[in-house]
């Protein structure tokens, strides 16, 4: 069972103004501040309201399919010959990724606020699909902003959103990816704030989004923690998750933050490689700045212009990262690695063939790191990988990269 009420074992961040140490906060046009104040107030009420929590839990159970299983990856474990590997199966959530945990929570809040119109940004399209899904179920008008570049490489998800009744608006400005879709969604929100709620899909953006999205996603970590204790009698040694904006990682990490024995490792996209200019390794190579309403690590030039991120994975192709990850990194509580496109593509095929589960390209980044890490550990240790999403959406893009189908 899930609950949004946090016990004393949870981190007390952020402060009342949304700061995680020096990171986070609220850097937005004044027009939006009252809407963010209202959202903060409504969320604070909701997270301690037994009725709201019960309804959230009920939809997670009946509609999303929670709790998701914890799968022992026997073949990966045997092949790597080190730590025992477990998979937290968010790919088995309705719509195929963890994103829907958050959209369920936010659509219930939108209903409380009486806002009939929903907007969202999407990169890989998973958050767009999860948003379109809850809008269909709960009867909201839905408009999803998606970079024109991502519309091309994630065509399947564009059509899924349309089938679900959402309008998909391709964004032609800037780099035509997730960053620009987020800009357009924020500009839409500034304009239509009176009747519109913006469902941000990751632990990014102005306060209260990073904390709120984390709380809705922390059902992942809470279930994992309980399942690992039940299955192995103790906590895992390592928790591993991919990081773009960082919502699946934050949801997984959060309930483990005060378990000092558990290593938390986030895996970023190194694109062509961290030695090149084409990557999305924000925490590994960026420096603090302000984008999309919060202060966090960013890829940027010397004058503060945001740099273009590059990754084979549309969901990780983002030059910012959630401010709580920035704080966890600086405090040394979490570690962040980066793997390149080729390693991720190799890992995607490897997991598919060994375990019969096709991971999303985003998720494949976590597996690429797993291949390096697991052999250095002993068989009495355990690793949990957050299997954040399934890879059906990526089949076309992967086929293109691998030179087509073999028939």
């Amino acid at each position: 069972m899930s609950s949004l009420i946090q016990g004393p074992s949870f981190s007390s961040e952020p402060d009342a103004r949304g700061h995680f140490g020096p990171f986070g906060g609220r850097f937005v046009p004044e027009t939006l501040v009252p809407a963010l104040d209202e959202l903060s107030r409504r969320y604070e009420e909701a997270r301690t309201d037994p009725e709201f929590i019960a309804e959230f839990d009920r939809h997670l159970q009946e509609y999303v399919g929670r709790p998701t299983p914890l799968t022992f990856a026997e073949n990966l474990t045997n092949e790597l010959g080190g730590a025992k590997i477990y998979l937290k199966r968010e790919d088995l959530c309705h719509t195929g990724a963890h994103k829907i945990n958050n959209t369920i929570g936010q659509i219930l809040l939108a209903r409380k606020m009486g806002k009939p119109r929903i907007i969202a940004e999407t990169g890989a399209g998973q958050h767009g699909v999860a948003t379109a899904t809850v809008c269909a179920k709960f009867g909201f008008q839905c408009c999803v902003y998606m970079g024109a570049e991502d519309v091309k490489r994630q065509r399947l998800n564009v059509f899924r959103m349309q089938l679900l009744g959402a309008e998909v608006r391709p964004v032609e400005s800037g780099t035509k990816t997730l960053k620009d879709a987020t800009n357009e969604a924020l500009r839409d929100w500034v304009t239509n704030v009176a009747d519109t709620h913006y469902i941000i899909g990751s632990v990014v953006g102005p306060h209260p989004y990073p904390a709120m999205v984390r709380d809705f996603q922390s059902v992942i970590g809470r279930e994992t923690r309980a399942q690992m204790i039940e299955r192995t009698g103790r906590l895992p040694d390592v928790v591993l998750a991919c990081v773009g904006g960082g919502s699946n990682a934050m949801g997984m990490f959060h309930p483990f933050v005060s378990d000092e024995s558990v290593r938390l490792i986030g895996v970023e996209a190194a694109g062509d490689g961290i030695g090149t200019a084409r990557h999305a390794a924000t925490l590994s190579l960026g420096r603090p700045g302000v984008l999309h309403g919060s202060l966090t690590y960013l890829l940027q030039d010397a004058h503060g212009q945001i740099a273009e991120a590059h990754s084979v994975s549309a969901g990780l192709d983002y030059p910012g990262v959630g401010p709580e990850h920035a704080s966890l990194k600086d405090r040394g509580r979490a570690e962040y690695a980066a793997v390149d496109d080729q390693e991720a593509l190799d890992a995607l095929q490897w997991v598919s063939r060994r375990e019969g589960i096709l991971p999303a390209l985003e998720t494949a980044h976590a597996f690429a790191e797993l291949r390096k890490l697991a052999p250095t550990m002993s068989p009495d240790q355990t690793i949990v990988v957050c299997f954040s999403g399934r890879g059906d959406k990526d089949v076309e893009a992967v086929a293109e990269r691998l030179g087509g189908m073999h028939v």
Partner: protein
């Protein structure tokens, strides 16, 4: 007395409102921004807002976004914008110059360094559209030391709480956003503005109020001038300058808009 204060007092005496003209630094003449500023000032504008381009602005519409992208491609940087101000002052531009942009380029420059460099070059104030007073304690302090006014925005969505929050931070003028939304030309730009300006004046009586976002036509300027201390025209000027690249056309447009500020 600051240049902005003196400007608004003189206008009050003449029974005019301020014509505030926005242009993006370096667009369309990189390295010759001073000529654009001189033209605008000589044609009668009372205040100039000089845009520091940012790659990812949240409050700008398509016209100023495109202008910013052109400027960035032409190599405009925060140091070059500060240089533009210095050169314009040397060329005899005496009207108040307000630097307008997003927070990240200022943060990366170093906020104290930026405030000092801007003030030394001859800038009078800043408007940072994604920096609300909630995050502006240090910036306000740095600006005070440097002698820069900090201009903050209020919008149709602003509650009493927000007016109270902005009040102690406000300097130069209050930028009153005419409607919820982003910058850009708009036919109904002045509907409801009178009530909003009145509310702001009641709450923050000692600071002039200028209205911007959507103001593009002399009729808008006239309507705004009847109720506020100034009108800001941006997108129309930027678009026309981009299309014509003609400083004479710019001068004519500014003069026509200025004529509409006389009450």
């Amino acid at each position: 007395m600051s240049r902005l204060q003196a400007c608004f007092e003189a206008l009050k005496f003449r029974n005019e409102s301020a014509l505030v003209v926005f242009v993006t630094a370096g667009d369309p003449f990189p390295g010759e921004t001073w000529k654009v500023l001189k033209t605008i000032a000589d044609a009668g504008a009372d205040v100039i807002e000089l845009g520091i381009p940012f790659s990812d602005p949240l409050a700008d519409g398509p016209v100023i976004q495109a202008s910013s992208m052109r400027a960035l491609e032409a190599g405009v940087t925060p140091p070059s914008v500060i240089d533009d101000v210095r050169i314009a002052r040397e060329a005899g531009v005496t009207v108040p110059i307000v630097l307008m942009g997003s927070w990240n380029p200022v943060m990366q420059f170093g906020m104290t360094e930026f405030a000092n460099a801007a003030a030394t070059a001859g800038a009078d104030a800043t408007i940072l559209t994604d920096l609300s007073p909630d995050e502006a304690d240090e910036w306000k302090a740095a600006s005070n030391v440097a002698g820069l006014d900090t201009i903050f925005l209020l919008a149709p969505t602003s509650t009493q709480v927000r007016m109270d929050k902005v009040k102690p931070f406000a300097g130069g003028f209050i930028y009153c956003v005419s409607r919820t939304g982003i910058t850009g030309m708009h036919d109904n730009a002045t509907i409801g503005v009178s009530e909003l300006v009145t509310t702001i004046r009641t709450n923050i009586p000692d600071v002039p109020v200028c209205v911007g976002f959507g103001i593009s036509h002399p009729d808008h300027v006239r309507a705004v001038s009847a109720v506020a201390d100034g009108a800001v025209v941006g997108s129309r000027i930027v678009q026309q300058l981009h299309e014509t690249r003609d400083l004479n056309v710019l001068a004519e447009t500014v003069a026509t808009l200025k004529a509409a500020t006389k009450r």
